[in-house]
Every structure is written in C-alpha cells, then in structure tokens.
C-alpha cells in the first residue's frame, strides 16, 4: 500500500446536484483529460408488500470502509491509466429521489474511465461495510440487501 493519505468518502446527507456540478467544473483546468465517466446512485421509491420506501438511512463502519476504499482506490489506479478518481457516499437519511452515491473517473480516452467507474461501483457495493435501512412511509423499516 502506498503512503497516500486515506480520503474520506462520507458526506452527511444527500449529495447535492450543485456539488456534483462543481466537481465536474473543477476538471476544466485538466486539459489532458478526454473522457469522464460518472455514476450516481439514487434512492428508489420501491414498493415492498404494498408499502412505499420513503428514504434510506445509511450507516457505516467508517474506519474500516475508508481503509477498504483506499485499498480499492490504489488497485484501480494501478489497473487503469486514470487522471482522476472521486468517490462520495452519503450517510444518514436520504429521501427517495435524492443522490446517495457519486463516482467520477477521468482519463485521456474514454475506455479506462468507463471501465474503472463500473469496477469501483461493483467493488464498493460488495466490499464496503455500509448498511442501508429502507424506511417506509408509515415509519416501519426493513434492512436493505445488495443484489
């Protein structure tokens, strides 16, 4: 593992469209980039046994998640020729329709950015100790499980 600082990916509350727009705008100065790939996760108003999901409440084992994310970040940088990689995940209550995950990769040409983005999302969902509690409109809940 390299000496690079472990970055915090967690943000309290939903990821705002303005935050995402600013993140895109910041890359205008990096003129070696030719392709960006973005994935955004949005809370879905699922219907389960006749009840609608109104929000997901996210919690995490933050220290372990950040160490694991650091390891994934390093592996992805080693595997793909990327210029940039940005990952943000919400904690707390995120309402249906709000953004809870933002993964943003950039490279000189499109392919590495697209493939790295996909791989980060898959690994993050499988390997990071984060839990989502689906809250229904009547305040009952169930624990989400990733497919």
């Amino acid at each position: 593992m390299s000496e690079k600082k472990i970055k915090n990916i967690f943000i309290d509350g939903p990821l705002q469209p303005g935050f995402i727009a600013d993140s895109i705008a910041k890359h205008g100065a990096k003129t070696n980039i030719g392709g960006h790939s973005i994935f955004m996760g949005q809370v879905r108003r699922d219907e389960i046994d006749g009840k609608l999901v109104s929000a997901i409440e996210y919690t995490a084992f933050e220290e372990m998640a950040l160490e694991k994310m650091h390891e994934i970040r390093e592996a992805i940088f080693a595997k793909y020729p990327l210029s940039c990689m940005h990952i943000h995940h919400s904690l707390g209550t995120i309402k249906a329709g709000e953004i809870c995950l933002f993964v943003f990769t950039s490279s000189a040409h499109r392919k590495p950015a697209i493939d790295a983005c996909t791989e980060i999302v898959e690994r993050l969902k499988a390997e990071l100790p984060i839990w989502g509690k689906e809250i229904f409109e009547d305040s009952t809940y169930q624990w989400k499980e990733n497919k």
């Binding site: 084992f61 999302v121 100790p129 989502g132 499980e145 990733n146």
Partner: protein, 77 residues
C-alpha cells in the same frame, strides 16, 4: 481475556457494542458459537466478522483487547 464487540445494521438492534470478558474462548469460531447461543437471532442470519478492521474468512485466533466487528451483509451504494 477482554475483547471489544462492535455491531452494525440489523445486528446492532439486538446485540449492543460492548466489552466482553471471555475466559474459555480462544478464537472466532468459539466466539461465534457463544454469541449464537446467547443471541439466537444471530444464528439464523448471514453475517461476517472483522477482527481489528480486517474481514476474516477462516477461524482466527483472538487475543486480549482485540476488536471484533459483527456485520450483516453490506448494502451500500
């Protein structure tokens, strides 16, 4: 010996984080058997353990002051 138990998600609802004094438990298999007996709900669930923030796959020796996380299936993203 004393170990620290930390719990998350659904498991935190019935098994609180705590300092646990165990005298006849030496490894994670022993700890799992003890916890599943004390908390039958756990026995019927899928869960994983992390010892000192590292996910473990196989039975692992425990030592004094280890921190053991008991974690239900992940559901981030």
């Amino acid at each position: 010996m004393e170990i620290e138990i930390i719990t998350f998600g659904e498991i935190a609802g019935f098994l609180k984080a705590q300092q646990l004094t165990v005298n006849d438990i030496e490894d994670t298999d022993g700890l799992k058997a003890y916890l599943e007996q004390s908390f039958p709900t756990l026995a019927n669930m899928k869960y994983k353990l992390a010892v000192n923030k590292s996910l473990i796959q196989d039975n692992t020796q425990l030592k004094r002051n280890d921190s053991v996380a008991i974690m239900p299936p992940f559901s981030g993203g």
